[in-house]
């Protein structure tokens, strides 16, 4: 299934040797402005934070496996769930999506040579790494790491209730990563608006790229609010600003408003990229075009918009918010989400579904996310939320969601790993990872729904034997062991792929979007040749001429229909004074 006969031999190690004098090794890591290098750096860093946060989750589950547990002190436990949540949300799921996979894939999918602002892109990464390191530095301070929960509700987060350097580090770390995210958002939107290849109209972009555009805009809406709120919190702690303090005439609940105005869109900043991955993976492994493409785009935009008007559904039990408004807006999100679900099913419908690992993970996502969605609808009803707020029911709800996103992330890893490295991951190990994760996630989190309904509050370091929470907690902890194994097997898979490589070729999955037209890994500045773009599936059209859908094509010389020819992009990639000037040229002239 090769796209082009005359492509250069697959480059074994590193992709920019044809570039000549580019630095390598450590210097490359520090100085590269190539979106592929930065994307890989982001991915690896984010996965490291995932492993750290996962280790904390294992400690949490170990603590809760027994009643009256004294494995961790109350204080340590509080640190653990705070840092577990913070690392997972701020440093893993978001960055791995918009900093890692999107950074790597979006320019490839639209036929761009790089992100629009490569230096800014590099700065995003360094701010992210700096911020992440500062947050972890909290563990080394004499006090402790942050221990006010990942939401840092005022006034618990003030300098009296949680004094010390750990919480301060948490605040400044998130200011840094906040700027990092904003820069990435700007970069994504600009790249998608300005660097698309000729013929790559907006409605031909892969859904992943569409979702990253919307995610980028959502980042620009949400993160500035959070970053400024953190600055205000810092002022409260150090300058006595009393913005969130009753004593100085401030309003504690204002923090919750600001936080959740960021926090709920953040949930979709985390989710939309993975919706995009799943959409594309399902289409590829069903050998069909996406069902309801435009509906999908519209649904993404509606979800993003609605998600920014539901923030106070996290504040139903404050007693000071407009319940019907936020309840209705939350319910409405179910409509575009439903559209997406049925489009996913429609894409598989009468297709030819092949169960390679990425597809298995995508199906795992569907199954698990549905559960999170249904429990989310329940929580959007204020009376039901009164009964379940801040219990394990909520913990179970959002873990159904985030574990489905983790599965989608793995779908993305398995799908694009060959593109990023030129090597395949092992299918057998991949399938083991999948089944352990699917079973593990549900064994871990289904019992937590019941625990919440029985009245177990979240964020408690211990419970009494007589509470009747023990059995379900044990089942949950056992499930988390399966999750641990699943991730361990994934790491083995990566090691094996380095130790005994199986070359991937350019397009191992018979996929359809532009990133599969170039070599694996792609060369510096991405493309030596680009096929004509005449539909949402340029590579598919090229490989399956009899099965293409060309909705709009005047037969123009050099166009796809007329000649089936291959255009050539990027001939002049010369390093003049350290800057590469890229030109597109007509191959025939």
């Amino acid at each position: 299934m090769t796209l082009l006969a005359d492509r250069p031999a697959v480059v074994e190690e590193g992709s920019d040797h044809e570039h000549g004098a580019g630095p390598s090794g450590f210097l490359k890591w520090v100085t590269s402005t190539d979106h592929k290098v930065i994307g890989k750096n982001y991915t690896v860093t984010a996965v490291i934070f995932f492993l750290l946060a996962g280790a904390m989750a294992m400690l949490i589950r170990a603590q809760l496996a027994n009643p009256d547990s004294t494995l961790l002190s109350q204080h340590t436990y509080n640190e653990m769930f705070t840092m577990h949540g913070s690392l997972m949300i701020y440093l893993f799921v978001g960055p791995v999506a918009f900093g890692g996979l999107a950074n790597y894939i979006v320019p490839l999918q639209i036929g761009a040579p790089d992100m629009a602002f490569p230096r800014l892109n590099a700065l995003s990464y360094w701010l992210y790494l700096g911020g992440g390191s500062l947050m972890m530095l909290g563990f080394l301070t004499t006090g402790s790491a942050a221990d006010f929960g990942w939401v840092a509700y005022a006034p618990l987060s003030n300098s009296i209730n949680t004094p010390g350097a750990g919480p301060d580090l948490w605040i400044v770390a998130l200011i840094l990563t906040g700027f990092s995210a904003i820069f990435t958002g700007v970069n994504l939107v600009t790249t998608i608006y300005y660097l698309r290849a000729p013929g790559m109209t907006m409605f031909r972009m892969p859904i992943f790229t569409w979702n990253m555009l919307v995610t980028g805009i959502l980042i620009l809406i949400a993160f500035p609010v959070f970053t400024s709120a953190l600055v205000l919190l810092w002022c409260d702690r150090h300058l006595g600003a009393h913005i969130f303090e009753v004593s100085g005439g401030g309003v504690p609940v204002l923090w919750q408003d600001l936080f959740w105005f960021f926090g709920h869109p953040e949930v979709y900043i985390l989710a939309l990229p993975f919706f995009g991955i799943v959409t594309d993976v399902i289409a590829v492994f069903s050998r069909k075009p996406i069902f309801g493409y435009r509906g999908m785009v519209f649904a993404t935009m509606s979800i993003a918009a609605l998600s920014t008007s539901v923030w106070a559904h996290h504040m139903f039990t404050t007693g000071v918010v407009l319940l019907p408004f936020f309840s209705l807006m939350s319910y409405l999100i179910a409509v575009p989400t439903g559209i997406k679900f049925f489009n996913w099913i429609g894409t598989m419908w009468r297709g030819s579904v092949k169960f390679d690992t990425p597809m298995l993970f995508a199906i795992g996502f569907l199954v698990t996310f549905l559960l999170g969605g249904v429990s989310g609808i329940l929580l959007a009803s204020p009376p039901v939320d009164f009964a379940t707020h801040d219990t394990y029911f909520v913990v179970a709800h959002f873990h159904s969601v985030v574990m489905s996103l983790v599965m989608a992330a793995f779908a993305g890893f398995f799908f694009w790993y060959p593109k990023m490295t030129g090597r395949m991951l092992r299918e057998g190990l991949g399938k083991a990872t999948f089944w352990l994760m699917l079973v593990g996630a549900n064994v871990t989190f289904l019992p937590q729904y019941l625990l919440g309904l029985k009245g177990m509050p979240r964020r408690i370091a211990e419970y009494a034997a007589s509470d009747g929470f023990t059995t379900l907690n044990r089942i949950s902890s056992a499930g988390s062991v399966l999750l641990f194994l699943s991730v361990a097997i994934f790491l083995v898979n990566v090691v094996v792929s380095w130790w005994k490589p199986i070359p991937a070729g350019d397009n191992p999955w018979d996929a359809s979007s532009l990133e599969w037209a170039t070599s694996s890994p792609p060369p510096h500045h991405n493309f030596l040749k680009i096929p004509p773009i005449r539909s949402q599936r340029p590579v598919w059209d090229y490989n399956h001429p009899e099965d293409r859908i060309i909705e709009h094509a005047k037969a123009r010389p050099g166009g796809f229909v007329a000649s089936g020819g291959v255009g050539t992009v990027l001939l002049a990639d010369v390093n003049v004074d350290g800057e590469d000037t890229l030109e597109t040229r007509d191959p025939d002239r």
Partner: protein, 130 residues
């Protein structure tokens, strides 16, 4: 450029509407202000793009029939590699540290940040690796 502007105008339109409803219904300040801000975030660049899309030369990336030759010419200038983002990021991290420990790191951080700004400006003036 039209679809691009519609995407942003959709944001403006949606939050204009929702912001208005929310304000009239709740009279709550914080949320209304944030919704107003979001309305502006969508509509200001959205209208600018719309205005601009009428004036600009059509772009090959908006033309469903464009061929690669239509896009022939300079795509842009991209830096090969640069040390300055790293230096600036390090500087910012040190500055951030100063807001926790109130210490000498502020000087180091500011020095690195300024050096990076100067470096980046010179780099894009005259080029030059690292």
């Amino acid at each position: 450029m039209k679809i691009e502007s519609y995407v942003l105008l959709f944001v403006g339109f949606f939050f204009g509407l929702v912001g208005l409803v929310y304000w009239l219904w709740s009279h709550e300040d914080a949320g209304s202000v944030m919704l107003l801000g979001t309305f502006l975030l969508g509509s200001v660049p959205g209208f600018y793009y719309l205005w601009w899309s009428r004036r600009m030369r059509p772009r090959p990336s908006d033309d469903p029939d464009a061929t690669l030759e239509d896009g022939a010419g300079v795509v842009g200038a991209f830096p090969g590699s640069s040390i300055w983002p790293f230096v600036l990021g390090l500087g910012a991290t040190f500055v951030a540290l100063a807001f926790v420990f109130g210490a000498w790191t502020l000087g180091v951080g500011l020095f690195l940040a300024v050096a990076a700004l100067v470096g980046v400006v010179y780099e894009s003036r005259r080029g030059g690796l690292v």
